[in-house]
Structure formats: structure tokens, C-alpha cells
């Protein structure tokens, strides 16, 4: 337990503590070429001390290359990588203050669990007994007490993962690098490990840098997330900001589900942009919710999350605006029901129908609506994001 325990992630206190933390990893204008292939195109990034940071992106976006650059397994073509203020240019992987949990876990098959965990302690000046005690302690920390003498091939995927964690954390690195550590686990195990990793990170207070292609995993675990596409960082934000206000349509599409409707910009005031969208009418979008369109988009569009709108009873009173439509499709998920609703007038400018997806939690007493029935959709201007 460390004194600067940051507490629950989403609290303001935690965010403030994080924002004030000193930088642990500073990446300046890092470029990486593999022959003709431009893997990293000028990365600028500061990861704070004690932060749980995620690099999120589709495969081939350069996130793993960036992680391996920090670890020292890849040379950079140009730029600077500093770890705790020290330039890593001529520091080989084995002398960097980082340790890695590999995607394949890389558990040494010829060594026992204890020998694996103690692998990095060879030059540690402590006595044999003290090292053995440290190994025991590390195993206990990851929930593998009593596994010391097990052969490594007798471990399950989750146990291998824990051994890899213990093996890295026992060396007390300044930064722990995790390369898609949960991708090989089944869903239940993955969710359990996510929670355990968060707890572990708070407990040890080490800076964690996670690489993942799973947006949910990144949202659950991270203090901040860098979304990467094609060797560049597209957006760097906390989970909530990233989810609620993606700065580009591409990021919005990558993180979760977002409905898009074409929009027409009518005018702009000091703090809002006035638009018209088919099915929703005229709306003032606050400037904070105005983001970039993708280069390929045909004109501006507005986006909103399926759970940011809801189906309400006809004539319901409230602060929100209500749009009407017809239910096109119903998908029942047990805890949730997804409705695809065609809003009246949403055929819009080009005559093309665009049903919007609405997610409703199946709370007690709420009936699942039928396909073809009329529906009232409640929405508020604050939940819309304008991409232009």
C-alpha cells in the first residue's frame, strides 16, 4: 500500500491527483520505419507517474510497436524516449527500468513457477533465503500462494498470466508494460483479471502501460487512453471524455456504438453551433461537443450513443425533447434490449432511411416493445456530438 493511493478512478480527487503527478514516460516526436513501412508517425505522449495508461487501437495501428519502443526491444528511427527523466537512447532493454508482461506470457518452460518469478533476481545482493521469501510474497500478491514448485506447463492461462505479473513486479520496475495481457483468456477470466489488475496497480503504485485492441478493457481499467490509428495518436483522454466526446468520427466508431445522422449547419454563436438534423429538427450543439469529421465523410453529421436516448411513453413530460418514429427491429439481450427506430422525417436530405439504435435496460416492469409499433424517443441536445 502506497501513501499516494489514488483511490477510485472516476473521482475528481483521483483525477486531480493524477493530473499533478510528475511525468514518468515522455515520448517526443518518435518515428519508426520498417523499410518502407511507417509504423510510428511522430508520437508525442506523456505518461504520468502512477498512472494506468492504455494504448488502444486496431491491429497494425502501432500500439505494440510503441510499447516495444518503451521496453527497448525496438530502436526508434528518430525522436526521444525518456523514462523518469532519463534518455533511453543508448539504454538496452535489460537496463531499462521497465518490465513487460508478454502477450504469450513468455513463461520459461524449463523452470518452475518459483524459478520463473525469481529469474530476474540473479544479481540481487540479497541472500538466497531472502530471495525465496520475496518470490513467495510476489506469488501471494498475485494469488498463487503455494504454487512455487509447480512445473510451468501445468499452469492454466490465468495462472501463467499471474506468474508473468509476479515475475515482473518482483523487480519493482518504474513502469510495467502489458502487451494485450488478457486477450488469450476467456471472457469470465478476463473480467476477473481486469478488476485484479486495477487493484494490483493501486496496491503497488507502479505506472502501468497497457496495450489493447479491446475498447471495453481500456475503458474499464485506464486512467487515460490514447487511441491510435495508423501510427498516430487520434485522441488522448480519460475514459469518460473519450466515450462521451470523441474528437473524431473515427474514434467514435472505434469506441462502442454510436448512431450517426446527417446534419446541416445553420449558424454559429459564441458558445454553440446551430444545426438541423432529419428527425431531430433544429438543435444547438455546445462548442465542447463539436468534433472533427473524417476525411471521407460526406458533410457534417451528428452522433449519439444508444444509451444516451430512451424510449418513453407517449405524452411523457420532461426536460428532454421527444422525437417520434417506428420500431424497425428489436434485439433482446436479457439485461438489455436494443431497438432500431426509424425517426419520422429521418429519411432527410437524401431520402435514405437511417434507423437509430436505442439501448434500454430491462428493469422490472418495463415491457419489451414490438416491431412496427410507434415509439417516442427522448433525447437531449447535450448528448449529441457534432462532427464537421
Amino acid at each position: 500500500m502506497t501513501t499516494q493511493n489514488p483511490g477510485p478512478k472516476s473521482t475528481a480527487a483521483h483525477r486531480a491527483a493524477m493530473a499533478g503527478a510528475r511525468p514518468m514516460i515522455e515520448i517526443r516526436q518518435v518515428q519508426k520505419h520498417y523499410g518502407d513501412y511507417h509504423a510510428l508517425r511522430g508520437i508525442d505522449l506523456t505518461i504520468r507517474s502512477g498512472e494506468f495508461f492504455s494504448l488502444l487501437g486496431p491491429s497494425g495501428c502501432g500500439k505494440t510497436t510503441l510499447l516495444r519502443t518503451i521496453a527497448g526491444f525496438e530502436d526508434i528511427s528518430s525522436g526521444v524516449v525518456l523514462i523518469d527523466g532519463q534518455d533511453m537512447q543508448d539504454v538496452p532493454a535489460n537496463r531499462r527500468p521497465t518490465n513487460m508482461v508478454f502477450q504469450s506470457y513468455a513463461i520459461f518452460p524449463h523452470l518452475t513457477v518459483a524459478e520463473n518469478v525469481g529469474f530476474g533476481l540473479r544479481r540481487d545482493p540479497r541472500s538466497r533465503a531472502e530471495k525465496a521469501a520475496a518470490v513467495e510474497q510476489a506469488l501471494e500478491m498475485v494469488g498463487l500462494k503455494g504454487y512455487s514448485s509447480r512445473a510451468s506447463h501445468a499452469l492454466s492461462g490465468g495462472q501463467r498470466q499471474r506468474v508473468a505479473l509476479a515475475r515482473a513486479l518482483i523487480l519493482k520496475p518504474k513502469v510495467l508494460l502489458l502487451d494485450e495481457p488478457l486477450s488469450a483468456l476467456d471472457r469470465k477470466m478476463r473480467e476477473q483479471m481486469q478488476v485484479e489488475l486495477i487493484k494490483l496497480q493501486r496496491q503497488v503504485g507502479i505506472t502501468f502501460v497497457l496495450v489493447t485492441h479491446d475498447q471495453e478493457e481500456a475503458l474499464v481499467m485506464s486512467d487515460r487512453i490514447a487511441v491510435m490509428f495508423e501510427g498516430q495518436i487520434a485522441q488522448l483522454d480519460g475514459p469518460e471524455a473519450l466515450y462521451a466526446r470523441p474528437t473524431s468520427r473515427r474514434v467514435a466508431n472505434f469506441i462502442g456504438v454510436m448512431n450517426f445522422l446527417p446534419a446541416r449547419v445553420l449558424g454559429e454563436t459564441a458558445d454553440a453551433v446551430q444545426i438541423e438534423a432529419p428527425g431531430l429538427g433544429r438543435v444547438d450543439i455546445p462548442l465542447a461537443n463539436v468534433s472533427q469529421a473524417d476525411p471521407g465523410d460526406d458533410g457534417p453529421s451528428i452522433g449519439f450513443r444508444p444509451e444516451a436516448v430512451s424510449l418513453v411513453a407517449p405524452g411523457a413530460q420532461g426536460a428532454n425533447r421527444v422525437a417520434e418514429g417506428v420500431i424497425d427491429e428489436v434485439v433482446y439481450y436479457g439485461d438489455m434490449t436494443y431497438y432500431d427506430v426509424r425517426l419520422d422525417g429521418s429519411a432527410g436530405f437524401d431520402g435514405q432511411a437511417r434507423p437509430v439504435r436505442i439501448a434500454m435496460r430491462n428493469v422490472f416492469g418495463r415491457e419489451v416493445q414490438d416491431v412496427g409499433t410507434r415509439a417516442n424517443v427522448s433525447w437531449s441536445p447535450g448528448s449529441l456530438v457534432l462532427f464537421r
Binding site: 521496453a71 527497448g72 526491444f73 538496452p92 532493454a93 535489460n94 537496463r95 521497465t98 518490465n99 513487460m100 508478454f102 502477450q103 504469450s104 513468455a106 520459461f108 518452460p109 524449463h110 529469474f119 530476474g120 540473479r122 544479481r123 506447463h153 515475475r167 515482473a168 523487480l171
Partner: protein, 289 residues
């Protein structure tokens, strides 16, 4: 289900029947004959079919046998050491430095020596190492030596050089396969946990390559002990190994029981040494990757 299994068993037996029959005919039958002969009496040019342990007593008491067996073991051990030590870097290069597209070509190049018969290769070494051979005449032409070097022919050194060359591909291949099987992220993990490249090799690569090294050692050691051609040609017949001694008993002296007893004894010694070698390395062989 049971009938399915039975028919599968039958199918399997049918498939292996021809090679099994062949193996029984040319391997098991002669071996059993040799074993039987070794317990018979010798009646000069004939074999008297009476049980005796006399042959074995003679073999074990014979100082010449001791010397030749020890020499055979020594030569085979030296050849094994030289071959494995020289084959390892080649296999390592092949596995780690050669690009995947070019590995097949390199493996093909390594098998080129097999295109020529073993006998001819051994004879070529005689040409290279001989009194007026390539090395001696070359060095003399260059003026580096005045008298031909004599330590490179008709002695143990020459036999080791010849045999190590002949068996090199047999050693390279199993080591190469063991190296190929090593997950490369294990080597990165070794570096990540603070070890230099050399220490990572020592603590990760080498232990994981040991099954290949053990296989290579056995593949070289076992046949070289019984090698007949190289001692006869390169050794000039003056430094016989166990195969030459067996041949002398069997054919020159026509004492088949004695030759058989020598053969069986040599076989037992090789078997014991091989098993001991495997036992010593068993912790490496148990590793499941």
C-alpha cells in the same frame, strides 16, 4: 466403437507390416543370431553349438579389447564433442540469423555432402590430409613448412576430423529443430528481466536447445563408435577401433563366436553409456514447450 477400434488397429498393423517384416528380417534376426553365436564354442572354421560363457570371459580379460574399446569410446567422444560444438553455431545461425524464406535453401546446402558416398568422402580427407596431400603441399608451396606435417594423418586427430565432418549434418538438424521450437518472446523476456544477450543464451536458449543437443550427441556418438571405414582408411589400419577388431575376429580369424561376443559387449557398453547420458540430461528432456 469397439469394432471401429479393432478395424483401426488392423489397419495400422497392415500399414506397418511390410517395414516390420523387413526390420525383423534384417535387424532382429541377425542380432539374435549374433547373440546366439556369442554363447557358442569356436571349432576353427566351424561353430560348435554348445553353450559357453568362455567368449565373454576372454573378451573382458583381453587387454587388447580394453585398449581398443577405450580408444573407440575416446574417438567417439571427441568426435561427438567436436561435432556438437561446431554444429551448434551453424544451427543457431540457421535458426536465428537466416530469414525464413531462405532456411530451406540453407538446409539443402547442408545436405550437399550426402550427395557423395561416405567412402569417397573419407577417401577425400585422406587426399587432403595426406603426406603429399593438399594441406602439406599447399603449406610447402607457401614456404610455411619444410617437412610435411605428420600429425594430421594416420592418427586419432585425422579420424576425429574426418568423422566430425561426416556427421556434422546429423548434428546440425536436431539442434536446429530444437532452436526453431523456442518461442522468441522467451528470449525477450530474458532480456526484459535484466539479463544480457549472453546470459539469456546461457539461462534460456541453451537449456531449451538441450533436447536437440542430446539427440545430436547420441546420433553422432553411437554410429561413430562402430565406424569401420575411417579407422581403416584414415587410421591406416594401424589404430583399429572396435569395428575393425570385430571384423578381424569374424573374417580374418574366422572366430565367429568371439567376434559375436565382442559385438554384443560393445553394444552393451554403448547402450549403457547412452542411457546414462540421457539420464544425466533428463531434466532438459522433460521440458514441454
Amino acid at each position: 466403437m469397439a469394432s471401429g477400434n479393432r478395424s483401426q488397429t488392423a489397419q495400422g498393423l497392415t500399414l506397418i507390416a511390410p517395414p516390420l517384416g523387413y526390420a525383423v528380417l534384417v535387424l532382429a534376426a541377425p542380432l539374435l543370431t549374433i547373440l546366439a553365436y556369442s554363447f557358442f564354442k569356436d571349432g576353427y572354421l566351424t561353430v560348435i553349438r554348445e553353450f559357453t560363457l568362455e567368449n565373454y570371459r576372454t573378451v573382458w580379460a583381453d587387454p587388447i579389447f580394453h585398449r581398443i574399446m577405450l580408444r573407440s569410446l575416446g574417438v567417439a567422444a571427441l568426435v561427438t564433442l567436436a561435432t556438437v560444438v561446431l554444429a551448434f553455431p551453424v544451427a543457431y545461425f540457421l535458426s536465428f540469423a537466416v530469414s525464413p524464406q531462405k532456411k530451406a535453401m540453407w538446409l539443402f546446402l547442408i545436405t550437399i555432402p550426402f550427395w557423395t558416398s561416405y567412402l569417397i568422402r573419407v577417401f577425400l580427407w585422406k587426399v587432403i590430409l595426406g603426406y603429399n596431400g593438399v594441406i602439406n603441399s599447399g603449406l610447402k608451396t607457401l614456404g610455411l613448412i619444410e617437412q610435411p606435417l605428420t600429425f594430421i594423418l594416420y592418427n586419432v586427430n585425422a579420424m576425429v576430423i574426418t568423422l566430425a565432418h561426416a556427421y556434422a549434418p546429423f548434428a546440425i538438424l536436431p539442434i536446429f529443430i530444437a532452436l526453431e521450437k523456442i518461442d522468441r518472446s522467451l528470449l525477450e523476456a530474458g532480456r526484459d528481466l535484466g539479463e544480457s544477450r549472453a546470459m539469456t543464451f546461457w539461462r534460456v536458449t541453451l537449456p531449451l536447445a538441450m533436447p536437440g543437443v542430446v539427440a545430436a550427441a547420441l546420433i553422432v556418438f553411437i554410429p561413430t563408435i562402430g565406424d569401420y571405414v575411417t579407422p581403416a582408411l584414415i587410421g591406416g589400419g594401424k589404430i583399429p577401433m572396435i569395428a575393425n577388431m570385430i571384423q578381424a575376429q569374424m573374417l580374418d580369424l574366422d572366430n565367429r563366436p568371439m567376434g559375436s561376443a565382442l559385438a554384443v559387449t560393445a553394444m552393451l557398453i554403448v547402450a549403457v553409456i547412452s542411457l546414462a547420458f540421457i539420464a544425466v540430461n533428463r531434466r532438459f528432456l522433460r521440458v514441454r514447450q
